[in-house]
Amino acid sequence: MLKFALAGNPNSGKTTLFNALTGSTAHVGNWPGVTVDKREGTYKKGEQPVDIVDLPGIYSLSPYTPEEVIARNFILDERPDCVINIVDATNLERNLYLTTQLMELDVPMVVALNMTDVLEKRGDRIDVKALEKRIGLPVVEISALKGANVDTLMERALKALQNPRQGVSVLKESALGSAISNAEIALKLKEVGAPLFHAVKLVEKDSIEVQTHPAEARAAEAFLRENLINDEFNGDTEAAIADARYKYITAHFSTTLTRARKPSYDELSKSDKADKVLTHKWAGIPIFLVIMFAIFHLTFSENFLYLGSILPAFGEWCGTEGGLAKGIFFTDGLNSPGVILFNALDLLTSSIGEGLAVGLDGLGANPILSGLVVDGIWGGVAAVLSFLPQILVLFLFFSILEDTGYMARVAFMLDRIFRRFGVSGRAFMPMIMGFGCSVPAMINTRTMADERERQATVRVIPFFSCGAKLPILLAISGGIVQAFGVGNADVITYSMYVLGIVVALISLLVMRNTTQRGEASPFIMELPTYHMPGFKNLMLHLWDKAKHFLTKAFTIILVSCVVIWFLSNFQWNWQHVGYIEIAGEEFAHTDKSILASIGQLIQPIFTPLGFGSQLNTNGWVFAVAAVLGLIAKEDVIAAFGALAACLAPMAFTGTSEDGIQEVVVMIQATGITVPALISFIAFNMLTIPCFAAVAAARGEIGKEKFKWTLLFWIFVSYLVSTIVYTVGAYTWTVAIWIAVAILTTVGIVCYNKYMDKKEGKSNLLNAQK
């Protein structure tokens, strides 16, 4: 099959074009580094199928970043049949810099001029025919976002295959032209493929090239020493070549661009004006925190815009005559959109649960089997499922922030803060991905140059609460509000997210000053202009999230529910636990179950965290749920769902299947306190992540250091949860924790000074040698 490679600058629209060509739904990000490795798909609309390879975004073919090495190696070693170079028409000069390098390869090539529609909106125009003539390559105007002209692009690419192409360089007329020609001849004699490209790189003193062709590199250097007169770059041939390329682009290619009016450097674009406020030195971060709170409020609040006191009449009407509106639109006040959807789904899942119970009862099913289906399976699955609307609403807002270009700005703003903690703003990108899922986030760290910085980042990624942890956060915070009447669900959820970020930053600070010492690597990134998010892209993100949440609910969670139900309904001698009668109803005697005995065994471990031995006889459920969370985080709430029916007589007996009601049952049945519940959330958020994330971390960090990572997660989660519980339950313990923090800080400072001295000495010795 034919193989075409998509190459271009970051944010030029490669992945969007890849999706348009292959019909894929690959994640399109609005910051560089979203595509870390190459990705393949098939274009099937033409006469013959074509394999399309989406390469990571690069600015050059020099080996500065892992992305550049991946793209360069692919084009040189795998020899695609054609390279489609995507050029962002709104940044023509800078994008063509890469084009001038790709042109030096002996491979058929087509230039896809993307975003010309945006250019036209500004009133600017590119003379495509003139550009095509001057570059000497087919140039096709496309709009990857709208899918316009992509088939024409493929036709031109297929046509380009018919004529084998020799590389050409825009540097031949420059001062380094003869040196390049000499090196090219030498490489041709050695029958090296793409000799012109390698020759330019040799003259550039490219590290990979010098290593591969040392003799030719020495010859090129000697030639330059003898022949290069008027060397304004003091022997820095790389800078000289970059300068020559830009000069050529400005003189020959940029003239094809006609601007409606001359760009004024004093005049600010709309994006610049927005950035003056949104990325302001002092106001930027508070604005970000306010935006995040607004998102959490829109998703989780039961008192939307705090209108509860203004709209009591509406609440009264909902409570008495509202019909379906009762309990859906009004709780403490007007519900937020996320809560309205949550309540609507809860109504549906509860009705299904009731229908199942009545149906099985009517058919005369065995009560044990009926319990398994209704309480065990449906109770557990529905408890998790009930949070799907809120998860989707939250991720819709996150996707909007990402697609508009705001998240890239946040990385830029946080660079200043992160640097103080020993990591660059580059680390923020995988961390943001961690809010969705830790697995791709950990893999995304591959683009980080410093290995120690990367390892430290991988370790803290699980602290950024992922989608799977959201049901725990929502159910427990909702449970706290309902059972104790304190706080707001949105404030508690938001605070827990912030707690995760704070713990991540402190952990980074400690690691970068002890086990992972080192300076933060430089961070340069291009900020995309603000734009309206693409509807299709947003819907694709949501569809993907919903599809996988549902798949997981009806696979892993379902199997877990069956196992939990079995363990909580049977004894070690394989006998059913039997029933106890309370208020005329029969309930399974869970206290005699296998799960209860295991739970009671591990329960003391969690005593310092507030959900151990201090709870009453049913307290083991929290210990069991915490351990089950290691399989999949949703299992925590699924366990509550499956066990709620058994513990209901000791608490509130409701018919709702939603996770919040199940937590209320657990609270009333175990006597757990608010600090212990907050500690429970903290433990689940910070401890060892799910199996998949653990496997990803092992792959990224390596076997040897992974065991320390596991210990790190256990230690941090245990410590933070203990602090949360003790401070919440016994305020005076704040003094103890402050003293511990001061002693730790002093210890780290002393260790750092000692290490600096030691490293200074060894550097001196090395220098003397």
């Binding site: 992945t15 894929s24 739904t25 690959a26 994640h27 990000g29 979203v34 595509t35 870390v36 490795d37 190459k38 990705r39 393949e40 099985l360 058919l363 005369g364 099913a365 065995n366 089997l369 398994l372 289906v373 969705g436 899922c437 830790s438 697995v439 791709p440 893999i443 995304n444 992922c466 989608g467 799977a468 993100h541 993907d544 999230k545 599809k547 996988h548 949440f549 798949t551 997981k552 009806f554 696979t555 892993i556 379902l558 199997v559 069956v562 999949a632 985080k633 949703e634 799910c690 199996f691 998949a692 994330a693 496997a695 990803a696 792959g699």
Partner: protein, 58 residues
């Protein structure tokens, strides 16, 4: 045991076996049980291929 009990047991067994088979197949394809789902992940191809390469090397 009534006939409905046998029907419930049969349906549950089929369902559970189906789920377990599905999970094993996904695992073999290199797709883990994480909440994010592979196709939505920007490194969807990397996970599977990296694993396969490792296996080949071994």
């Amino acid at each position: 045991m009534k006939p409905i009990d046998y029907v419930i047991i049969a349906l549950l067994t089929i369902g559970l076996v189906g789920v377990v088979v599905y999970l094993i197949r996904q695992k073999k394809k290199g797709k883990s049980g994480c909440g994010c789902g592979c196709s939505g992940c920007p490194h969807a191809d990397v996970c599977g291929s990296a694993k396969n390469t490792q296996e080949e090397e071994e």
